[in-house]
């Protein structure tokens, strides 16, 4: 026993020490991070963010230098109250705010940089940089900020803003004070535009002095500049569209049908992109954010979901012909309304009867389309099969779908399915039939589309059965390419031969139908007006508002160059606002000048502000006049 006790003690001690070392060196990896934080300092070199051009090569967005005052809290020397006072004056902040900022920075991390005050101009920087040596732990970080050459397209560009903690946790590339695209093109093409920041590693000693480069710089990288991009936007058209929408709410979206390129994407009301740059940024952003009535940050083209109204009849017609339940020359009778069960009637207006398909579209006859919608569904033994088949055709046009365009954010609208109605009517407890969903035939009822979806199906009609996914990227300049998904044609379920009758009908709309008031000499437009009922809630009560004015169109009739969808909220007749605006946009794009100045004056001088104030007035009001 006496011989072995010490021996065992040595072995046990050896095991304890081995276990401790194993824990420290192998199991617990936190020391590796601590040692990096301790001994290695990273200095970042920020590259230029890529420029943005329009389809004609006009520069839209470039950069301007901006200077942030940053702090690494653990490096701060205690300052006398006098020099704190002086420093605050330099930074143009109060001492209270200064203390708050430092407190927050310390809580975030004593070792990592935090922003003290951001976005100083070049002149301010010159003055500041002379005095910075006095304040240890603080330094100036140069960044590049956006410099907008135009005052339109804010909704397309989106904006860049400082990253927050949540983003840093998800994407470790970023650190406090870095800028990231938060909406629109800036967000979608963040990785392309951003480039890659360069980093230099320095070995530090315990007094936090640099004592040379870390590992001879093998981990150092040089910054890679962001890539310039060209958008499909026509800046002139965009600017003109925004002018037309002054004092209105709604959206315009125009595509080139042969490519899916977005020519213009306007949402109103909008704002000047310059508002979101510089020291006033957060004040301006807050103002835009809290404007919950006109909602300038809400993109009505991508996020606005509207009942499409009569333009949807074109799709009802195409599906009907594809399913073989109607021939384009078959004439149907309209008795001024459509009776869909018992005494329930869906009204129509005065027009000639009977009518074939083109005439039906030209006159926007509700009865005609209700009849063929009902046939389409009743071709199948159950309404469930019928409606799912109907939906199958519609989704091939990109409806009930985000389509895949490159502009965040978006909505996907709604095309109801059998499941939707089964739930709605509590099937199988209660049965439902095609006639219960009859409003879908004319783009009311449960059907909801975004203006982007409206223009997409219009482009598919213009192309007679296919479309490219709408996109805003024309070229990533340095690598000369765009994402592959925008170079692929998507086919609809409708055969090419069925489109002629619909296109003819849409031409008749313009020629002598509901939109003949917008005729432009020398341009053959195919279009369809829409007047969509809509409701709001006032004090919890469902109240009908003036109908939305909707118009979809493409032109010219042969070899179409532009497809367009316009929605003017509460504008009443489709031809009154949306039709005129679409006409002007088409003329502007095709001819470069406006001949229908009467129409232009009507729009430029017209305002719907009175209409929008009605629901907020607290008084009873009249609609649709």
């Amino acid at each position: 026993m006496r011989k072995y006790l010490f021996f065992f003690l040595v072995i046990i001690t050896g095991l304890i020490i081995s276990a401790r070392l194993f824990y420290l060196q192998v199991l617990d990896t936190s020391s590796q991070i601590s040692s990096q934080n301790n001994a290695v300092k990273k200095v970042f070199d920020y590259p230029q963010r890529g420029f943005i051009f329009d389809r004609n090569g006009e520069l839209l967005v470039s950069n301007q230098p901006s200077y942030d005052v940053m702090v690494i809290p653990k490096n701060i020397d205690s300052l006398s109250s006098e020099s704190i006072n002086e420093f605050c004056e330099l930074l143009k902040i109060t001492e209270e705010k200064y203390n708050n900022i430092l407190k927050k920075a310390k809580i975030y991390s004593p070792r990592l940089p935090s922003v003290v005050v951001s976005q100083f101009t070049k002149d301010e920087y010159a003055y500041l940089s002379e005095k910075m040596w006095k304040y240890k732990g603080f330094y100036i970080q140069k960044r590049s900020l956006r410099d907008y050459q135009v005052s339109n397209s804010a909704n397309v560009f989106g904006y860049i803003a400082e990253v927050n903690k949540t983003i840093i946790e998800k994407k470790p590339y970023y650190q406090m004070g870095d800028l990231i695209g938060k909406a629109g093109v800036e967000m979608e093409y963040e990785d392309v535009l951003r480039g890659k920041k360069g980093v230099k590693h320095f070995q530090m000693d315990r007094f936090n002095r640099e004592i040379g480069s870390y590992q001879e710089g093998v981990f150092d990288t040089i910054p890679v500049n962001g890539k310039d991009i060209t958008l499909t936007i026509d800046s002139k058209l965009q600017e003109y569209g925004e002018k037309l929408l002054v004092n209105k709410r709604g959206g315009i979206v125009a595509l080139e049908p042969s490519t899916g390129e977005i020519l213009a994407l306007i949402s109103a009301p909008n704002y000047d992109p310059k508002l979101l740059v510089g020291r006033e940024r957060s004040k301006n952003f807050t103002k835009l954010w809290y404007d919950t009535i006109s909602r300038p940050l809400f993109d009505r083209v991508l996020q606005g979901e509207y009942p499409p109204g009569s333009p949807f009849k074109a799709l009802t017609a195409l599906i009907g012909m594809q399913e073989g339940i109607v021939h384009k020359d078959e004439k149907l009778i309209c008795q001024g309304s459509y009776n869909y069960g018992g005494k329930k009637k869906l009204g129509c207006h005065l027009h000639k009867t009977p009518l074939n398909m083109s005439e039906g579209l030209a006159n926007s006859c509700n009865t005609y389309f209700c009849k063929i919608y009902k046939r389409t569904l009743e071709k199948f033994s159950t309404p469930q099969e019928g409606i799912d088949n109907w939906k199958r055709h519609l989704t091939s046009f990109g409806l009930d779908n985000y389509i895949g365009y490159d502009l965040p954010p978006g909505k996907k609208g709604l095309i109801p399915s059998s499941e939707f109605y089964n739930r709605w009517y509590q099937y199988p407890k209660y049965k439902w039939y095609a006639s219960a969903t009859i409003s879908n035939a004319i783009g009311q009822g449960e059907v909801i589309l975004t203006p982007m979806q409206m223009v997409n199906f219009t482009a598919a009609i213009a192309n007679r059965g296919w479309y490219y996914k709408p996109h805003i990227i024309k070229n990533i300049n340095t690598i000369d390419s765009i994402p592959l998904k925008y170079t692929k044609r998507y086919k609809t379920t409708i055969e090419k031969k069925h489109f002629d009758a619909v296109i003819e009908g849409m031409f008749e709309v313009y020629n002598e139908g509901t939109a003949k008031n917008i005729q432009i000499p020398g341009i053959e437009i195919c279009g369809k007006t829409g007047t969509a009922e809509n409701y709001t809630k006032i004090d919890g009560k469902r109240v009908q508002l003036t109908d939305h004015s909707i118009f979809v169109a493409f032109a010219p009739k042969e070899n179409p160059e532009i497809a367009i969808a316009v929605i003017i909220e509460n504008g009443y007749w489709g031809s009154r606002w949306a039709g005129r605006i679409a006409g002007l946009m088409i003329e502007k794009y095709l001819k470069g000048e406006i001949t229908r100045t009467d129409m232009e004056n009507f729009i430029l001088n017209g305002s719907l502000m009175e209409e929008y104030e009605k629901p907020y007035s607290g008084k009873p009001f009249k609609i649709n006049y």
Partner: protein, 415 residues
Amino acid sequence: MLKTKGSKYDWVTIFIYIALVAIGWINIYSASFNEASTSFFDVKQVYTKQLMFICLSVLLIIFILAIEAKFYERFSSIIYLIALFSLLGLFLFGKNINGATSWYAVGGFTIQPSEFAKVATSLALAKYVSDIQIDLLTYEDQIKSLIIIILPAILIIPQPDPGSALVYLALIFPLYREGLHVMYLLFGFIVAALFVATLSLGTVWVSLLILLIAGIIIFKTKKKSIFKYGILAIACIGFSISVNFIFDNVLEQRHRDRFNIVLGKQVDTKSIGYNTNQSEIAIGSGGWTGKGWLQGTQTKGKFVPEQDTDYIFSTVGEEWGFLGSMGVVVLFLFLIIRLLILSERQKSQFSRIYGYSVASILFFHFFINIGMVSGLLPTIGIPLPFFSYGGSGLWGFTILLFIFIRLDASNYINH
């Protein structure tokens, strides 16, 4: 028993010694490396000085091995007296370095007598206990042995260098080997365990635990032992209660801080806990295989104070990783076990006691030092044998070890 083949010196031990000194120097080079100085033979550099100390050690070794083994036994009392006087002399002629008067300054060099006193004390203890008249079961001889051990420690404490003084506790192991009652070891162990347990768990829990253990023992053994174990339990509880008093009133604040940091009661990475924290980061960041020689960022940035002396093991941990650290740990364990095996086969009791003393002292230094550097134990500033920078330390340990190698060699020749 005559060793028939091979050398009379134990080359296994000598090789481990050479390996430890060489690895130690490589790490001192890294820890004190300074990019500004390119000259290898710059005598201002710590690593150059250590290289000179190593060369002088070779001379020392030759000298020690050349002397007749009997000399060490015969002159042990005189050597012990010289050591005591050299420690006493510090009060008059000592030079104060970093707040401790532990050095004589001779010309440009400094010498730390406490490093050599370990050798003298081991020799004296071996000589005294190996006397045929001595019986460690008598109180008188127990007390006399204790005085031999305690005397140098008492002279070292006021330098102040409590760490070096603490090392003398290790000499309880050879005494136990030679017949000291196991109760002394057990007593020491229980006191240490109670001290730590009370500080980390609190008196109430420790008392309950003691009662539980006592209850189990009494229940398992005969009823007669109630009185005996009852008294013991009460004594333990009494000690536990007094621990708080000792801790709060007898110990100084810096000692309290060191305990609290190791027990995790106090998180402090800036002031007192800085050394331990930085050392743990250095070791921990080494991973499996380390960052490579001269590549340790903690070492380069000199984040660990005293890294070439007491904290040298953190360089090993950072630059050579778990595998390298384990290599060093295994070398030390192997050396200590080798010394134990050699001691057990000594014919003379003097050699055996001395061998045990050497093994105990090395073990104590090794455990306390690596325990401290890796954050297992409170900060007790003693060097890692053969590794840490310092002439006195290196020579002290070299003499300690090679006297035993000399004794071991004579073990065969005399028979």
